[in-house]
């Protein structure tokens, strides 16, 4: 790639600026005239980022302007490209083939074409093709941190280190998972011997049970009376006994027949008095009615006498009335009334007792009707009891007759014996099956856990391989880059004759050079500034050869702090570099700028 021109609009101190470049271009300007801005703008135009990673592209804009743009034209492989970038808008790319007059904008596959034209990453290009004094200070003071080598530090491998850490953590997770799986493994409590024993027990029990079933069937087929007639008789006997007991209980609760007969006699006697009582009741009622009539008449008489008491003549016969006689008559009538009342009360009490007696007779009549039924019931019950007693005795003797011989001699029932044994065997079979089921479940869980553990092992292995591969790749990357850098340092050292008195070597994985001179080993900080600048330039060029560069070497004020002789050396060196790459140098040192007679030269005066 060869940069032909750069056009700036509202960038830094420039309102508008157009610059053209040759293979070796020197840009001279006093301080604050925009030299560094040009370098930043060129980097932004090519890579879309700020060269200083601590700044944003918006920081490139001219003061008071919202946005700025940079257009760079460059040639590559007989084609010319025009790349325009703005701090606010999307970039645009146009291409022109050799001999063509018009620019053809690139719309499709923009990113791919741009990557083909400028394949370097911004970080790599910053490291290999752009030189800033501030960067030099960083290089001189930087000490490799942790286990990061200087080459890793220079090639921006922090990201790779973070990635390495993430892979290691992923491995840790895989190991944690495996540990959890191992911890969750069921403990093996059953041993194979025990399992075999249980299996045999089960087979034995099943065999015995089959044998018992056969025996039981034989026993059942021996005769029906054993199980049916005997049990039928026994059941009948028990039923009759139960009924008898129930009837006897009823007999005990109800009155006896003799008592009932006595009660019936008394009732009949009472019923015989029934007519007499009825007659005396009627007589008493009649007497009571007559007395009531007499009393009413007396009361009417007394009322008449009382009316006559205040009168002097009788209203009937009109004869004179004597008050004393009238009073005597009233008293006499009152006395009779009292006597009648007493007689009436006596009759009423007599009537009451007669009525009670009459009610008793009515009750007795009812009872006289009931008692015969009760007596009949008692007779029937007694007859049934007698019958049941006979039947129970008969059944008892029959049951005794049908009773099997083992029952008489005190032997156990063989069927019962078989039944008991059968029950035991069935329980034994269930127990064995449960135990075997548990063992099978335990084995299944063990097998499942084993599979999970295998999968977890595989995950750990994959993570381990990934970590080891990344470690190896990082180490190899260092050594491979180092190897290339070492070769390139050897090639460039013939131009850097100024450093010839140092024996510069680079260790296997570390870019920090081993610097020896006259048998003395130097530290980097022990070298002079000019020596360090040259060393750094050489390493930068060598890194560019190792990692790739965009055929460009841009230096921002590299001669600062160098004496005239060193400036001459540097100018000569850069002219040598310009034979291999396009070189653009900015400086505020006119004498240094004058040391490039073959270079195209531009001067900045601080005006847009």
């Amino acid at each position: 790639m060869r940069v032909e021109s750069l056009e700036l609009k509202h960038i830094g101190c420039f309102a508008e600026k157009h610059l053209r470049f040759s293979d070796l271009t020197v840009i001279y300007g006093e301080n604050r005239t925009g030299k560094s801005t040009l370098v930043y703008a060129l980097f932004f135009a090519l890579f879309g980022k700020h060269l200083n990673p601590q700044l944003r592209v918006q920081d490139l804009c001219r003061k008071g302007e919202k946005s700025g743009s940079v257009t760079v034209c460059f040639a590559q492989n007989k084609e010319r490209f025009r790349l325009c970038r703005s701090t606010e808008h999307m970039p645009s790319l146009a291409r022109k083939s050799e001999g063509a007059d018009l620019w053809q904008p690139v719309a499709n596959d923009f990113a791919e074409i741009l990557h083909n034209v400028i394949p370097s990453a911004p970080e790599t290009a910053s490291l290999t093709s752009f030189f800033r004094e501030s960067e030099l200070i960083h290089f001189l003071q930087d000490v490799p941190r942790y286990d990061k080598t200087l080459v890793q530090s220079m090639t921006g491998m922090d990201r790779v280190q973070i990635l390495r850490s993430a892979f290691k953590k992923a491995l840790g997770k895989a190991k944690e998972y495996r540990k959890a799986i191992r911890n969750s493994a069921p403990k093996r409590t059953d041993d194979p011997l025990q399992a075999e024993l249980v299996r045999r027990q089960l087979l034995q029990a099943e065999k015995e049970l089959r044998h018992l079933d056969g025996e039981y069937e034989q026993l059942r087929s021996r005769g029906p009376e054993y199980h049916t007639v005997y049990h039928l008789l026994q059941n009948q006997h028990l039923g009759k006994k139960k009924e008898l007991a129930h009837l006897r209980q009823q007999q005990g609760q109800n009155p006896r027949a003799a008592d009932l007969e006595k009660e019936l006699e008394q009732t009949k006697k009472l019923l015989r008095e029934s007519d007499t009582v009825s007659r005396s009741a009627e007589k008493l009622l009649r007497q009571s009615g007559a007395l009531s009539q007499q009393r009413n008449q007396l009361e009417a008489q007394i009322r008449k006498f009382l009316q006559l008491e205040g009168q002097s003549l009788c209203p009937m016969c009109e004869q004179p009335l004597v008050p004393e006689r009238t009073a005597k008559l009233i008293a006499k009538e009152e006395q009779r009334k009292v006597q009648i009342g007493q007689a009436q009360k006596e009759i009423e009490s007599a009537l009451e007792s007669v009525l009670i007696r009459k009610k008793e007779i009515a009750d007795a009549r009812k009872r006289a009707e009931q008692i015969p039924f009760q007596l009949k019931e008692i007779c029937e019950r007694e007859a049934r009891i007698k019958e049941l007693e006979k039947e129970t005795a008969r059944l008892a003797s029959e049951v005794r007759e049908k009773e099997p011989s083992y029952g008489k001699s005190g032997e156990d029932d063989p069927a019962q014996k078989l039944e008991n044994r059968r029950k035991l065997l069935q329980e034994e079979i269930v127990r064995c099956r449960v135990q075997m089921g548990r063992q099978e479940e335990s084995l299944r869980r063990l097998e499942e856990n084993r599979k999970h553990a295998q999968a977890a092992d595989r995950k750990v292995l994959l993570c381990q391989v990934a970590c080891q591969a990344l470690d190896g790749a990082i180490a190899n990357l260092g050594s491979r880059v180092m190897e290339k850098v070492r070769e390139s340092v050897g090639a460039w050292s013939e131009h850097f004759t100024f450093l010839n008195r140092f024996d510069i070597d680079i260790s296997g994985t570390e870019l920090l050079p081993v610097i020896q001179a006259r048998g003395y080993r130097y530290k980097l900080s022990q070298m002079s500034k000019s020596e360090r600048i040259f060393l750094y330039l050489m390493l930068k060029l060598a890194m560019g050869d190792a990692l790739g560069h965009p055929d460009l070497f841009v230096l921002d004020d590299p001669a600062d702090g160098l004496d005239h002789k060193r400036k001459q050396t540097l100018a000569w060196l850069l002219s040598k570099v310009a034979e291999k790459r396009q070189v653009i140098v900015t400086t505020n040192d006119r004498a240094f700028a004058d040391l490039f007679p073959a270079a195209s030269r531009m001067e900045l005066n601080g005006t847009g």
Binding site: P119, K169, V465, A466, A469, L547, G548
Partner: protein
């Protein structure tokens, strides 16, 4: 501009390492490919964390 970028070199070296280690540890071609794919994804996506890497490496996530 012939040299490869550090990322490209790193990926290439990683692939070589995975092939060697995979052969030594009897990893299948699919597993080796999976590791390389996860690494490429992790290189391209700086937000991929250890959990995602673990899940992808173990094949639980694609």
């Amino acid at each position: 501009m012939t040299a490869k970028s550090p990322d490209e070199i790193l990926i290439e070296l990683f692939c070589q390492q995975v092939m060697e280690l995979g052969e030594r540890n009897d990893l299948s071609a699919q597993e080796r490919e999976r590791i390389v794919t996860v690494f490429r994804q992790a290189m391209a996506n700086s937000f991929m964390d250890d959990q995602q890497i673990y899940l992808k490496l173990s094949g639980e996530a694609v």
